[in-house]
Symmetry: C2
Subunit: 493 residues, 2 copies
């Protein structure tokens, strides 16, 4: 008894709540998504930087509004107080402030971030998750970097094979501020009313109005005026409507925002991406640091009524840090969408919060890879041929030996086959004593269907072995590539 | 005054002690080292897994002996207690224990690990640093995986261009245990005497003997007997000496270890790597979990007398967690080496510490990329041509426009050139109004020396533009590749 007890570890064998191990085909799919995104970033001239996983606690303070309570702190073991990074944007701004010789840069950063939130694994909402960020820092022609971000976003989703299946919602903080101002929102209610508006993607206007008036004490007439604006969405024609709006045209903030959007639409038209964009007045975004254009990308599965997205876009309600043991009961509902798959915007004042003086205007976007992964995997599930074509292992050929009088071989041949199959190695070359003497050996492709001409392998001359194997590998790779392209959209292999 | 004060952040703008931002060419060099190492891992059939950056605190408990005090804990913010991973080996063993269907695997993992140690940045000793781990788990022919690890290690350092500049020290825990036993070390002093032996790479025998007898209370005669064994090093002939040693041959542990080493040497000879290996009786390695062969790779610059290496091999003395403000005064001494660049060994019992029952024998090695990076960079510093050939940016051509009557261009041409140069873009294509009308444009290679025939650019027909640019890019890439190969050894680009 005593012995048996000491053999058992005294704790539960698991990963921390809201985290997971990545392995096997998931890892391969995720790496391919990274590769695809990185390729687009590099094509646009971006370089990458890598910042520490934790920052001084003070660096993160006051950047995330009420979401700050989701920040993971390190224990005070003596010395500096540190916190795990919450996103990649604040570390980038801190880096820019520390490297004042750099006045402009396009940088991308793919790394894990940490949020002590209630996890919902099936929706891709985790406590540890990857972000892929692309940001343009520096002074350029007005709205040109903002338009390039949208162009890049389109290139990425097209390269992932999402043609026609995503929408980039855009809005402008200055227009929103102008609307709130002309509608009569008191200065001290600006942020809380803005966060109520941001819920219009999940809740109908009547609910949002109720929150504004009953919970947040806004004058119902003011709420109704806001409602007229923020329920609008459209394209360039909406811009015209707003520009001709008598009330808005008296507001400097709104006018500046509308001028920006006009220029942005001109660039988007030149960049041939206007049709992917929806000018959506309900988009407000939670983070405090945005100052201009804001973006959010939704797709099929970003279920508008139920999704509680907080990775790319932190949600504002019910943000108690989750106690362990609790589980998000929606996490097993497969019909629940994954929220937005990318989000970002312009933040012109964040760097100067660190540097004290120097202002470097920035605009960027963050891709939620775990969510993109979830959707890619769902799509793969409907294509077994594509799923089967994903290999975790890059070994093409497994060399096996029969053994014979002259030589002993361990393990036995059936075990060798088992090992090759378990590892997903597609070809075997089988060396038998008699065949070798006759200058021959056998090539066998694993997993061929019954009745295939080469099902039992094919005997080839030793001197042609390399050429025979190479030819078959190329054909098999081409087949696997076709199957994958069918299942993963354009995700190249 | 008040305003100026509020502009300044109230804290120091820096990264946490012992961490750094990676950027620019450093990032490119590091990525190339990763790529080179990964290629070798994959060639040997390894798949990768990715574990969370933090584990339940209990998972790490009792695995690192007295180094446990260097573990970073997360603050207790409610819920599970977690710690940042200290290495990649323990998370791998935890993963194996959780995935009991996996009986054998070759896995690699490249990720950051965390140690709250006194940093010495110039030596590549950091609190946050990368490890590249390769491990073989499962039951195979005896010593075959152990030999493959050494073969892989050689392939990696050869591919990095370190031919003839590294040595793989090997020893065996069972031989050491046998030596301690026949010399008369009391059971309760085994680990502490072993860790004294491990200092023989930095300290002469007289110092180590003093530590054993004066600090650790070992009988001087026992120490002298140990001294006769552990100061030996050599090749296969040393194995014969030990096998014929009368005292050792009575010890079961030593005999088992020597039989293992004999088989290992046979495989190393077949694998053509025997000459890279030094059988070094002074190698003991700190970590508790090793049970068989142990490895450590040193190179020029792993200065034997002064290096205090604790990444690949934790040192045992003066392991107080460093208070902040203190600085390691050796960190500015450029003559100080970086310690070992890779280390590992066999750990057959770690998985069963988690699973309770199931035993999965494992052997692996960890490459200290920050140290490999430091050495690569030192070598690059002596080759300016190679250093210059490293590009942070993969854009080949910058398109510039003069503008003219018909079209306005911003920014002006000199600013466009400045941007191209700052970004390290090697070619410019310059569009001028008159030239375009004549069906021509200019290609200019950046940074050509004075007097070069194409220094001022070359005018080409628009219809040949693509071909003309392509040809020049290929030539330039070939030149850069040659320069890099000269400076970085075999590090391919």
């Amino acid at each position: 008894m005593g012995k048996e007890k000491s053999d058992k570890p005294a704790f539960q064998l698991k990963v921390p709540k809201g985290t997971k191990d990545w392995e096997g085909k998931d890892m391969v799919i995720r790496d391919k998504i990274f590769a695809q995104i990185t390729e687009v970033f590099k094509r646009h001239g971006a370089v990458t930087i890598d910042t520490p996983v934790f920052e001084l606690k003070e660096i993160l303070s006051g950047k995330y509004g009420e979401d700050s309570k989701l920040i993971y702190d390190l224990a005070d073991q003596g010395g500096e107080l540190c916190s795990l990074r919450y996103d990649l944007t604040v570390p980038f701004a801190r880096w820019l402030a520390m490297n004042s010789s750099i006045q402009s840069i396009k940088r991308y950063h793919i790394a894990k971030v940490y949020r002590r939130d209630q996890p919902a694994m099936s929706k891709g909402r985790m406590r540890e998750f990857y972000q892929c960020d692309f940001d343009i820092a520096g002074t350029y022609d007005p709205m040109l970097p903002d338009a390039e971000i949208i162009r890049i976003t389109c290139e990425i989703f097209e390269s992932l094979g999402w043609q026609g299946r995503y929408t980039i919602k855009i809005n402008h903080r200055k227009i929103l501020d102008g609307i709130f101002s002309v509608c009569g929102v008191p200065q001290d209610k600006l942020r809380t009313i803005s966060s109520a508006v941001d819920k219009l993607d999940k809740s109908p206007w009547t609910d949002v109005r109720k929150e504004m008036t009953e919970e947040k004490g806004l004058d119902p007439e003011v709420a109704d005026r806001i409602g007229e604006y923020v329920t609008k969405k459209g394209g360039r024609e909406l811009l015209e409507v707003l520009t001709n709006d008598m009330k808005l045209s008296t507001n400097e903030s709104a006018k500046a925002g509308l001028a920006d959007m006009d220029l942005l639409f001109t660039y988007l038209s030149s960049f041939d991406v206007l049709d992917r964009v929806s000018f959506d007045m309900s988009l407000a975004r939670g983070l405090d640091y945005y100052t201009g254009v804001i973006y959010e990308v939704i797709t099929e599965g970003s279920a508008p009524q139920t999704a509680t997205d907080n990775q790319a876009k932190p949600k504002k309600e019910s943000k108690k840090p989750a106690a362990d043991g609790e589980e998000d009961d929606r996490s097993n509902d497969p019909s629940v969408g994954v929220g937005s798959v990318a989000a970002g915007g312009r933040y012109d004042n964040l760097v100067s919060m660190f540097s004290g003086k120097q202002q470097i205007p920035c605009v960027g976007i963050s891709f939620g890879v775990d969510r993109i992964f979830s959707i890619t995997k769902q799509r793969l599930a409907s294509s077994p041929a594509a799923a089967a074509a994903i290999r975790t292992n890059e070994v093409d050929v497994y060399i096996m030996a029969f053994g014979g009088k002259g030589w002993k071989v361990k393990p036995k041949l059936p075990q060798q086959f088992k090992a090759a199959e378990a590892n997903g190695v597609p070809f075997a070359v089988i060396l038998g004593e008699d065949e070798l003497k006759a200058g021959k050996c056998k090539i066998k492709e694993m997993g061929l269907p019954e009745g295939h001409a080469e099902k039992e392998g094919v005997m080839v001359e030793l001197e042609n072995l390399e050429q025979e194997v190479r030819g078959r590998i190329e054909k098999a790779n081409a087949r696997a590539g076709d199957a994958l392209a069918g299942g993963m959209g354009g995700l190249s292999v």
